[in-house]
């Protein structure tokens, strides 16, 4: 259903393109919250959890990071302590060893102990199950001449019928992640195609005009990472994309609201565990 909503929004947005003007609005402040971002996947690499603090809405400084916190992850059998990165660019990042990998169907419990209280709390927890994901059969790139001319990256895969599945699609071009920041990531649930073959659904577009999007060159290797996420993470990403979209249309948007979280004690953000499957193709003209 959320997809149908998107389609309508695009259509009506075209008709009702009103005029805009910049205005001054004063906003109140609010108390600081702990912000957590963490990802555990079934890939073998250093996975990270990032700790920052929230700031006032108009603030232009980067978020203050939290160092010297005790961050551990328990997978149901053992607990690993994450080590803070030494890199000055990556303050606030806590990493697992590089040979760490998440196991499908395990539940991961994150525990955080921060040195100074935020909002009266020092201990925070979150947990996420790591769901499996179907393999990608293949991906294909097709060019269309409408509008400015664009390429569709199409996905072919089977969606398992027995489970409720939620997906993210990340796209890399020659090892550069294009779907960044996270509100560029395509997300979907399987309500429209549960149990069906996903027959070339478009998950990303390249545009034949660099002003409007990413351009595609012959010889580029395009890799798609399909993530099998939990329903909670899907809801988080959906709400996140709603709240960070640039234009809210009163015809279709409900009132703004806080994004859900799976972190305890009044912290915000999300700790997500998910599995990833890949497919690549090289673009030939």
């Amino acid at each position: 259903m959320k997809k149908t909503g998107l389609i309508i929004i695009i259509a009506i947005g075209i008709i009702l393109n009103g005029c805009t003007e910049r205005i001054e609005i004063e906003l109140d402040s609010t108390y600081t919250r702990l912000v957590v971002e963490g990802h555990i996947t079934n890939e073998t690499k250093a996975h990270w959890v990032r700790l920052t603090k929230s700031v006032d809405y108009y603030s232009t400084t980067p978020a203050p990071t939290i160092s010297n916190a005790l961050v551990t992850i328990n997978d149901g059998f053992k607990t690993d302590t994450l080590v803070e990165s030494n890199n000055s660019d990556s303050a606030g990042y806590y990493l697992t060893p590089t040979n760490y990998f998440g196991k499908i169907d395990s539940t991961y419990l994150l525990k955080i102990d921060i040195p100074e209280e935020i909002n009266g709390e020092k201990q925070y927890t979150a947990s996420s199950k790591l769901n499996p994901v179907a393999p990608i059969d293949s991906i294909r790139i097709e060019y269309f001449e409408d509008w400015y001319g664009y390429w569709e990256v199409q996905l072919f895969a089977w969606d398992p019928a027995e489970t409720e599945n939620y997906y993210t699609f990340n796209v890399y071009r020659n090892d550069t992640l294009l779907t960044y920041p996270v509100n560029e990531v395509s997300i979907t649930d399987d309500s429209y195609f549960n149990g069906n073959y996903i027959n070339g659904a478009a998950i990303y577009y390249f545009v034949n005009d660099e002003e409007y999007g990413e351009y595609l060159y012959p010889g580029d290797t395009i890799t798609v990472h399909m993530g099998g996420i939990t329903e909670e993470y899907y809801n988080f990403l959906y709400e996140f994309q709603e709240e960070t979209s640039e234009f809210r249309n009163p015809l279709f948007s409900g009132p703004p609201a806080n994004i859900s979280t799976n972190i305890s004690n009044g912290a915000i953000g999300f700790f997500a565990a998910y599995s990833v499957s890949y497919a690549s193709t090289v673009y030939q003209e």
């Binding site: 259903m1 959320k2 149908t4 309508i8 259509a11 009506i12 008709i15 009702l16 009103g18 005029c19 805009t20 910049r22 205005i23 609005i25 906003l27 109140d28 402040s29 609010t30 912000v35 971002e37 920052t52 929230s54 700031v55 006032d56 809405y57 108009y58 603030s59 232009t60 409408d146 960044y180 920041p181 309500s191 429209y192 195609f193 149990g195 069906n196 996903i198 027959n199 070339g200 659904a201 478009a202 809801n235 996140f240 709603e242 709240e243 960070t244 640039e246 234009f247 809210r248 009163p250 015809l251 279709f252 948007s253 409900g254 009132p255 703004p256 609201a257 806080n258 994004i259 915000i268």
Partner: protein
């Protein structure tokens, strides 16, 4: 509370029975009834709410929505004065020895004829009538109000009245005394109109040329009406000129309209047919760009009515409305449509007992789709059908008592929608949200009683009932989590809700120029609108009360002081109201409402309050007429799980609301109108903090609707230039120029926060819809 008021009514009825009995069986003097229809002399149209006043007794009555009146008096000689706003009063002396039928045809105030006495006194009906919180508007007044893009619109016109707020700019949804958009019962000739808007709400479905009368009840809703908490907008369409043929039409900036009416049998049967269509999509067809050539974007309305006076005691009407909005391109199509068909029969059982029987069918549907041939091909169709019948009786017992009673029942069929894949390539599964049906019924009785010369008391009781009808599935939730479901078989009745709705009101007439009125009404609403967006869209779904959704109940109290000045040329009123709603409905954050089986789990319930003061002064002095109104109000809710269970304002809570309407008839041929309106900006939710995640920032909110957008105000002007008015002229034209938002105020429609990519700075940006919009309309009439 319920038992107390029921008891009070029963007691009141019993206390009056001796008085009624005595009046009937009065010894020497026999009672006789004068009754008949009051109509317009040149068209034969019924005049609704015309006054018949017996000068010697200082009592009177008014004609009902079919133009019928009845008054019972002792034998004697009386002078009746029949009057109606905008028409010349007719006085006639009647010797009453027997029941008589006296039909009256009134002349418009600017017409002349000999042999009948006319008086020019303005009326004080607003002071003496036991009715408050209501406003009547006729098509002529509505036409004078400058309109957006020249499209005369009754819904926009009523938003200029005190107590009526817009929901969002352009939207046809309106809020009456703090109620939400779905709490207004909009009826066109007794048929409920579910979606009164075209083109996302910028225009309404009513073709003003075909309208005879509009009455808005903001409170003090009569016992004969129910089903919505906040208002009744009763729109009566013209019956069709029964004396001569007439063609009226207009060509405007956005749409054109045509109306044909005339007698089928002179003075006995007539018809009226009107249509309206927009044509902005024609501009697309002219475009050289291939992509735009096949774009379809239009709306149309079609109204048709036939009425037949079989004889003095029987009259039949058949009316229909068909309207549709279409938006389509080769890749995408969307549309919604309203259809209603009504059959009515007026029957006079006696001169004192008037009855009306109505049968209604109405359907509101919408569809959305992408044509075959791609992985996205789908079609989604949804609709709502009503099959209803009602019987209303008016028993004009005697000069002091007018009793109304009746019964009604409507079968609602809700088809929330099926999404079907189209073609073999489509990746969509078929998704169906199960149908739902409900039977909504009511029975009522009420009396309007004159006590002495100063008091009129209205009291009534309505009993309403709603029951779901299978076959359907109900999902059971615990703490908003889905547990299981219950299946009901075809025709199985389940989950009944019912209750009493007492209605009491009264007027204490201080003198000819002033009065005090008070009223109390309880209303129950069994069907609701799932509208999560701020402005409302045509895709909002109506849903019934079920085991998961209790009916909403409202109690409204109102008190008012009414005072006329300068021989009734200025009608002023001050009304204060308080409304409390139980089982108010709102939606959880990020609620999924469309095409979602379990959407009842997205609903949240609580209470709502609305209260305010409405001040209004209506004037009609020399060449100026119009009104000035000011409303000070508050509307808020407390809903479980929303805003931390604390009270929050609704988006349409606008403490100050001002309207100034001035119509100036400079001469017989030229009139100028100005409308200035002002309201506090809508309540909005703005962020207080931000946090980083995934390479970008997201907002943190603390309180819902704690901030406000900029105040809204604008000035509209219009000028109408009429062709020379010669007697017996066959052809009349007028040219109307209008300017919407004359000083080009940028009223915010929505405010978004954007981040400057280069500086990283976040700033607020407002979107506004209409700057200054001029329009021109050419209107004509053939007689």
């Amino acid at each position: 509370m319920r038992n107390f008021s029921f008891l009070t009514l029963v007691v009141l009825l019993f206390l009056n029975l001796p008085i009624i009995a005595k009046a009937e069986g009065e010894g020497n003097l026999k009672r006789h009834t004068i009754s008949g229809h009051i109509r317009d002399n040149s068209t034969g149209e019924d005049l609704i709410g015309a006054t018949v006043y017996v000068k010697e007794l200082k009592i009177g009555t008014t004609s009902n929505v079919y133009g019928f009146y009845s008054i019972s008096l002792n034998s004697g000689s009386y002078t009746l004065a029949v009057s109606y706003v905008g028409y010349q009063t007719i006085e006639k002396t009647i010797e009453l020895n027997d029941d008589i039928t006296y039909n009256v045809e009134l002349l418009l105030a600017n017409q002349e004829i000999e042999g009948i006495i006319v008086t020019g006194e303005a009326l004080n009906v607003n002071v003496t009538k036991a009715e408050m919180s209501t406003i009547k508007m006729d098509a002529k007044t509505i036409k004078e109000i400058p309109a957006l893009m020249g499209e005369v619109d009754i819904i926009k016109a009523i938003q200029l009245l005190p107590g009526v707020q817009t929901i969002a700019e352009g939207s046809s949804g309106f809020s009456v005394r703090g109620g939400s958009m779905d709490q207004n019962l909009i009826q066109m000739d007794e048929a409920t109109v579910y979606n009164a808007s075209h083109l996302m709400g910028f225009f309404s479905v009513f073709n003003n040329d075909a309208i005879a009368d509009v009455k808005l009840y903001k409170g003090d809703i009569p016992a004969s009406s129910g089903g919505r908490l906040s208002s009744l907008l009763d729109v009566r369409m013209k019956n069709g000129n029964s004396k001569k043929y007439s063609v009226t039409g207009g060509i405007g900036t956005i749409s054109s309209r045509l109306l044909v009416e005339g007698p089928i049998v002179k003075n006995k049967a007539s018809f009226i047919l009107s249509g309206r269509r927009t044509y902005y999509d024609l501009f697309f067809k002219l475009s050289s760009d291939e992509d735009y050539e096949d774009v379809k974007m239009y709306f149309y309305d079609l109204n048709g009515k036939v009425n037949y006076n079989i004889n003095e005691n029987n009259r039949v009407f058949i009316s229909g409305y068909f309207g549709e909005d279409v938006f389509g391109s080769p890749d995408f199509k969307m549309g919604w449509a309203n259809q209603t068909i009504t059959v009515r029969w007026n029957h006079l059982f006696s001169k004192k007992l008037f009855s009306n029987f109505t049968a209604v069918y109405s359907k509101f549907d919408y569809e959305l789709g992408m044509p075959e041939g791609s992985v996205y091909s789908f079609e989604w169709i949804s609709n709502l059908k009503d099959y209803g019948g009602k019987v209303d009786f008016s028993y004009y017992l005697n000069a002091n008592n007018a009793i109304r009673f009746g019964i009604s029942s409507t079968f609602h069929e809700f088809v929330p929608g099926t999404l079907k894949p189209l073609g073999s390539e489509s990746a969509f599964n078929e998704i169906t949200v199960e149908n739902n049906s409900g039977l909504e019924s009511a029975i009522y009785v009420s009396n309007e009683q004159k006590i002495g010369s100063r008091i009129i008391l209205k009291y009534g009781l309505r009993f309403s009932h709603f029951v779901n009808v299978g076959k359907s599935i109900t999902y059971n939730f615990e703490n908003y989590e889905l547990q299981d479901s219950t299946v009901y078989g075809k025709g199985e009745f389940f989950s009944p809700y019912y209750g009493l709705e007492p209605r009491i009101g009264g007027v204490f007439i201080i003198n000819e120029r002033s009065s005090i009125k008070a009223s109390y009404a309880r209303t129950r609403q069994y069907i609701h609108l799932a509208q999560n967006s701020t402005a409302g869209t045509p895709l909002d779904i109506w849903f019934p009360s079920t085991p998961n959704v209790e009916p909403q109940i409202a109690d409204q109290y109102a008190l008012g002081y009414f005072r006329n000045f300068k021989e009734n040329t200025i009608e002023a009123s001050a009304e204060v109201y308080y409304k409390h709603i139980q089982n108010a409905i709102d939606f959880k954050d990020y609620a999924e409402l469309l095409l979602y089986k379990y959407f009842e789990g997205e609903l949240r319930f609580g209470e709502a309050w609305a209260y305010g003061i409405e001040l209004m002064a209506k004037y009609d002095i020399n060449k100026f007429n119009g009104w000035v109104s000011y409303t000070l109000s508050r509307t808020e809710r407390r809903i479980n799980t929303i805003n931390n269970n604390e009270i929050y304002r609704t988006t349409y809570d606008k403490p100050h609301d001002v309207s100034i309407v001035i119509n100036y008839n400079t001469s017989k041929r030229v009139s100028i109108s100005a409308v200035w309106l002002y309201s506090t900006g809508s309540a909005v939710t703005f962020p207080s903090g931000r946090a980083e995640h995934g390479g970008t920032n997201f907002p943190i909110f603390t309180e819902r609707n704690a901030y406000r957008m900029k105040d809204y105000h604008r000035l509209d002007l219009s000028l109408t230039w009429r062709s020379k008015d010669k007697p017996n002229k066959k052809f009349a034209t007028d040219l109307n120029f209008s300017i919407y938002n004359v000083y080009n105020r940028k009223n915010p429609w929505v405010i978004n926060f954007l981040t400057d990519e280069d500086t990283g700075e976040t700033y607020a940006e407002m979107t506004y819809l209409f700057g200054i919009v001029p329009a021109i309309t050419f209107n004509f009439k053939f007689n």
